[in-house]
Point group: C2
Chain length 324, copies 2
Amino acid sequence: MGYYLQNTFDHDAVSFRLINDYPSRPGKGIRPALCLAACGLLGGNILNALNTATTIEFLHNAFLIKDDLVDGSVYRRHDVTLNRKYGFELAMNTGDALNVLGMTPLFDNLKELGVQKSLQIIREIHRMAAKSVEGQCMELSWVKSNKLDLTPDDYYLMAERKTCWYTCITPCRTGAIIGARSIKASDLESITGFARSIGLGFQIRDDVLNLVASFENYGKEINGDIREGKRTLMLIHLLRSCSDDERDRIGRKLSKSRMKKTNEEVEFIRRAMDRYGSIDASIRVAQGFGSRARKTLERSGWAKEARWKEFFIELTGYLVEREM
Amino acid sequence: MGYYLQNTFDHDAVSFRLINDYPSRPGKGIRPALCLAACGLLGGNILNALNTATTIEFLHNAFLIKDDLVDGSVYRRHDVTLNRKYGFELAMNTGDALNVLGMTPLFDNLKELGVQKSLQIIREIHRMAAKSVEGQCMELSWVKSNKLDLTPDDYYLMAERKTCWYTCITPCRTGAIIGARSIKASDLESITGFARSIGLGFQIRDDVLNLVASFENYGKEINGDIREGKRTLMLIHLLRSCSDDERDRIGRKLSKSRMKKTNEEVEFIRRAMDRYGSIDASIRVAQGFGSRARKTLERSGWAKEARWKEFFIELTGYLVEREM
């Protein structure tokens, strides 16, 4: 972090302590791991993907800072959020600073990748940012308009943008572009499909954990998604399974802002999910995406390196079944 | 805007109405004008700088959205701010979306500028973002720590980063890079110095207008900077001119948060500035930066096109003496 701080800013106004806070908390490191692994899978030297993997992890951390700000979250990675720790303005500034610093490693790509591929990677990162914003806007507009008639397909469309691109698709695409001598468009499409499947499995599992995990494992508030009114697959399943009368009742509770929802109202929705088997159904959907991803991988022509293929198969299982 | 919206996002979740709100309010358009003019000044076809000028203007608008959010501002460009109009979350999302969309025109540079120069422009824009964040962090840390012993040099260091880079230096540098066949490092340094001077003159004039303009002309709250505790050149002049006793009194008023400062406290500081001639002194400093800029321009070897040189001389006068 110190290297990138010096390489990005020329004054010590950006606090190392603040900008390094989230990145130094223990995280899973899924995104940089996917980027490096995809590079290896396509036959490349994984060291060539290190700059890009670093950017992706930094941008993810910047995103978390903003996300916690907007959601008013209290916990992140087993510690209080930056906004709670230092207040709104400093957290906002730190998020901006980390966003800018996050791009710095991409300019180090020039040496190993040359100008053409370096620019291609920058475009991929830009696309990732666009997809993420789009997904966030979709999710936010659903909460704001208290939308009650969403389908699983709506959810996949949103989650693909909100999560899959920055968590799986862009890491895999950039890793593959760096790793392969040159890559066919059809292979890149196939990799995108694989990454979309593991990304959806990952997000659905994440939403499940938000309901069933222990705080010790999960590091965030349990049932926080219900409180925020997030349109998870479980909530959509519930709204599609329950009676009209129940849907009205749940809709009224959901329409209240995060702060105004009582614990009883959150619990009511949570229990209804149990009653209609919404959580179990979603767990099965996540596993389904895992199987689909594994099939894509098995049949692919682009999965060249056996040990990285092994890694991806194991990782897929972990992403859709993990307990934390 | 519609073109870039389609070119950046593939779903209609990003609201055209919201993202187009600030960009469609009448603004001065100084930044894109500087970029195009610098391109012409160095002998280039100004159309080649259009993409970059567009990016700079979009990013400026994204920055205003965030700035208004953080400052909790109420008015911008003669209308209520986005945060007041649509609430915190939607404003934040719109700022993010405009930031991402703002980068899109840079990828259109490839056709006219080629891959090498396109990447160079992206690096310049990245540097601009880094400087701006740094300047904001400096300013914020001064307010947070209620710093009372700043010098004019501290102010110039901060304002150069907070304002000059994104308002003048980067527009001029990118315009010059695009306009010149190839540009000497010493010329680029000299252009940077020129743009720094007009930028400082512009910012000091802006801070003066915050105190003396009419709302009709200025479009923002009068005395808003005092309320926010911003360390303007006038405030620094006042703190360096007044007695120790007065500095203590002013310091106590400044230490209160924006919301807790009474109108009387704001007025007290404002009147003290009048008493010590802080505003007149700052007006002279701004004019001084204007003269310095004109001298750099007159003596320069890089100001090739006479009509654009004329434009820059007139603009310099406007920036440091404008009434709105």
